[in-house]
Subunit: 202 residues, 2 copies
């Protein structure tokens, strides 16, 4: 019997995607679930809803709460947490590099490295030098990776992932979608999503 | 040593307030936490954020997800669930009656009865006859309760609770606020809020 698959839609600028991305690999392995890492961009989806910025910036009370909530969550998980400034960070280039890496076996490690740089170390993940440094830290040749990340084929895949996310009902990140279409939104629903995926295969 | 106190801010039209209101009494008793039931109105708070309707109606993808998520949550808890139509239900009179009842010892039972009527039985909780029926079901004389609910003093208390909620950082419901001001939003943070309250007293 093949392992159940879970689509993991995440955005590098998304705060709650940080603990999800760091944790999902180990939890999915224990659960026997294969995870498809799907970086996408929230910007176009927010824009379609009429937002020209993160809702956490547009609605200050909600934003203040989110930072406090994330701080508590990371504290409980033993994850270092540093609030990115500015927020949100530009995530386009990182997402394109991630697609290049997911083809070549270093994509998931790269995604985790981006989240750690952004939310643990407070580094600007829109900066090409920072991304180059992260690639080198993974033993990946940075320049060829950056060239591939800017290829039309990769750009089209990121656009397609974003369109697919929106079409399947994604309105925020992280979002987990099971093979039957069941959707779970938020780091705090990740365990439910894995359990649902397992239930489908039994 | 006195028991720690937790402020429970809820709105009768709020979907996730339903499982919270049904469950918080027993969970708080086990935890040794005293709960102050604080009905308030989300309408003025949403209006200040620029919403003239529930965000779940304004953002359809988010709304569709919420209904599915709530259905799963209620299923997991063994709570019956019926989607109110129309949504949101008018909650003003129920909230005023609740304040009258909280003075007289039947307020918490009334709140649970309203949520069950709305989300388990699909009854229109803005309808005075429905509220009268719920009061009678609790053995409360309905007419005097309705008269008290419409007294200026009760109206002012509901306005004050709403203003206090907004001033303390509430932007949605249910919200739980501990004595040190620590705020937790959502049914899925209720256990964390109780644990935080307990931690303050030890």
């Amino acid at each position: 019997m093949s392992r159940p698959t879970l689509d993991f839609f995440f955005e590098f600028a998304s705060t709650y995607s940080y603990p999800a991305a760091i944790r999902i690999g180990a939890l999915a392995k224990t659960a026997g679930v294969a995870v498809r890492w799907r970086p996408f961009l929230l910007g176009p989806i927010f824009k379609a809803q009429g937002f020209d910025n993160s809702p956490f910036n547009i609605y200050p009370a909600k934003g203040r709460y989110m930072w406090r909530d994330l701080d508590r969550i990371c504290g409980g998980l033993g994850l270092p947490f540093h609030r990115p400034d500015p927020f949100p960070q530009p995530s386009l280039l990182a997402a394109r590099i991630a697609y290049a890496g997911l083809d070549e076996g270093w994509g998931e490690d790269f995604c985790r490295a981006v989240y750690r740089a952004e939310f643990a170390d407070g580094r600007p993940i829109g900066d090409e030098d920072v991304l180059r440094d992260l690639l080198q830290g993974l033993g990946v040749a940075a320049e060829p990776a950056l060239v591939r990340a800017r290829a039309d084929e990769i750009k089209a895949r990121l656009r397609a992932a974003t369109a697919e996310a929106e079409q399947r009902g994604v309105f925020g990140a992280p979002t987990f979608i099971c093979q039957d279409g069941e959707l779970f939104w938020g780091h705090d629903r990740m365990a439910d999503a894995l359990a649902w995926a397992v239930g489908l295969s039994s």
